[in-house]
């Protein structure tokens, strides 16, 4: 994984794990890799992984089990809310940029539909 050096690394690790949870690559109740393994996989400091996990435990996305490691929450509603939050963030960003180009709401919707249509064609 490539990190943006201008953004705190623990924050980017959290984001990476949020995305994997929403995408289902880390499913409800799944065990997370050991802290050191995550650090090796992401080429980051063990302390930084610990900080990211500590915050996600406080937020309730990760449930630690004594002596067994860290697990993704069993709470499906929590992950659904997270998915909604991430979706809103991306749409806000996209909408903001297109709006700044003076596209109307109708044009924005039409452009997105056309893009999806075109992408579908390209995939066939």
């Amino acid at each position: 994984m490539q990190f943006d050096d201008k953004v705190p690394i623990y924050y980017q690790i959290k984001n990476y794990l949020y995305h994997r949870m929403v995408a289902g690559e880390l499913g409800l109740g799944d065990k997370l890799p050991a802290v050191r393994q995550l650090a090796v996989d992401l080429t980051v400091n063990v302390n930084t992984v610990q900080r990211a996990l500590r915050e996600m435990i406080a937020e309730g996305y990760i449930a630690p089990q004594r002596g067994r490691g860290n697990f993704v929450t069993q709470d499906a509603a929590k992950i659904a809310t997270l998915k909604q939050q991430l979706t809103t963030t991306y749409i806000q960003d996209l909408y903001g940029q297109l709006h700044a180009l003076k596209l109307t709401d109708a044009e924005i919707i039409a452009e997105i539909k056309a893009y999806i249509q075109h992408r579908g064609d390209a995939d066939d």
């Binding site: 050096d5 690394i9 090796v40």
Partner: protein, 239 residues
């Protein structure tokens, strides 16, 4: 908690030349710290003084509270450049020397490390490429169960595969409580590894910040922060 490293008013001159002036530095246990500065800034000298290889500085250096030189040396594992060994020495002979010289040398860790770093220790020192030589130095240095590790420019002039392996071995084999200082003048590849950054300029420590502080307070990457300091874009009163 006792600092892993505590340097107070360190001054060092060699012949009539000033190398370090009024260096003060505290580093907590468990941290990975980047020691950055131009060539000739005094990074290597500072490491040699901490390790007790260079002597006769003014001021105090404490490693886990220990200021006396001989016991302090036992806490510090310094990546020495294998000087004093003969070109015809086999790597396994150098390992034997380390195992005798340092009671905290772990044969198990050494074996894990040379396996991971893909080093055949039946070779002679003279046959090693620059990359393999650097990997071997890292293997020896990390094989000790020390409280403080000092790695002096471990990525200097080596290929990117060796560099990646060295970085992975640091993450894998550094004990949680151990402190590691890595010197370099080029930082982007290890930026994600560093808890803190110490910048040496004009013979002294001119900045000591946590990596997150640099990213969130200055909105800069580590490399950009380091360059700004050297180019004078960030003034002393902003640090």
């Amino acid at each position: 908690m006792t600092n892993a490293l505590e340097i107070t008013q360190l001054n060092y001159r060699k012949n009539t030349k000033t190398i370090l002036t009024d260096v003060n530095l505290q580093i907590a246990p468990g941290k990975i710290v980047g020691l950055l500065g131009e060539n000739g800034a005094g990074k290597t000298t500072l490491m040699r003084l901490i390790a007790g290889v260079a002597k006769n500085a003014k001021g105090t250096i404490a490693v886990h509270g220990e200021t006396r030189e001989a016991p302090r040396r036992a806490f510090v594992s310094f990546s020495e450049a294998l000087q004093g060994f003969r070109p015809a020495d086999k790597l396994s002979q150098i390992r034997d020397f380390y195992a005798l010289a340092y009671p905290d040398f772990s044969a198990k860790k050494y074996l894990d490390l040379i396996t991971f770093l893909q080093i055949d220790d039946d070779q002679k020192l003279s046959t090693l490429s620059k990359g393999t030589r650097e990997k071997f130095i890292i293997a020896l240095t990390l094989s000790r169960e020390a409280a403080v590790y000092l790695l002096d420019e471990p990525f200097n002039g080596i290929d990117s595969m060796s560099r990646k392996r060295i970085i992975s071995s640091i993450i894998q084999w550094k004990q949680d409580s151990a402190t590691m200082v890595i010197s370099d003048h080029y930082v982007s590849e290890i930026a994600a590894l560093l808890d803190e950054v110490v910048i040496i300029k004009d013979h002294t420590v001119c900045a000591h910040k946590s990596s997150d502080q640099i990213r969130s307070e200055f909105g800069l990457g580590i490399e950009a922060f380091y360059e700004s300091i050297y180019e004078g874009d960030i003034h002393d009163d902003e640090l």
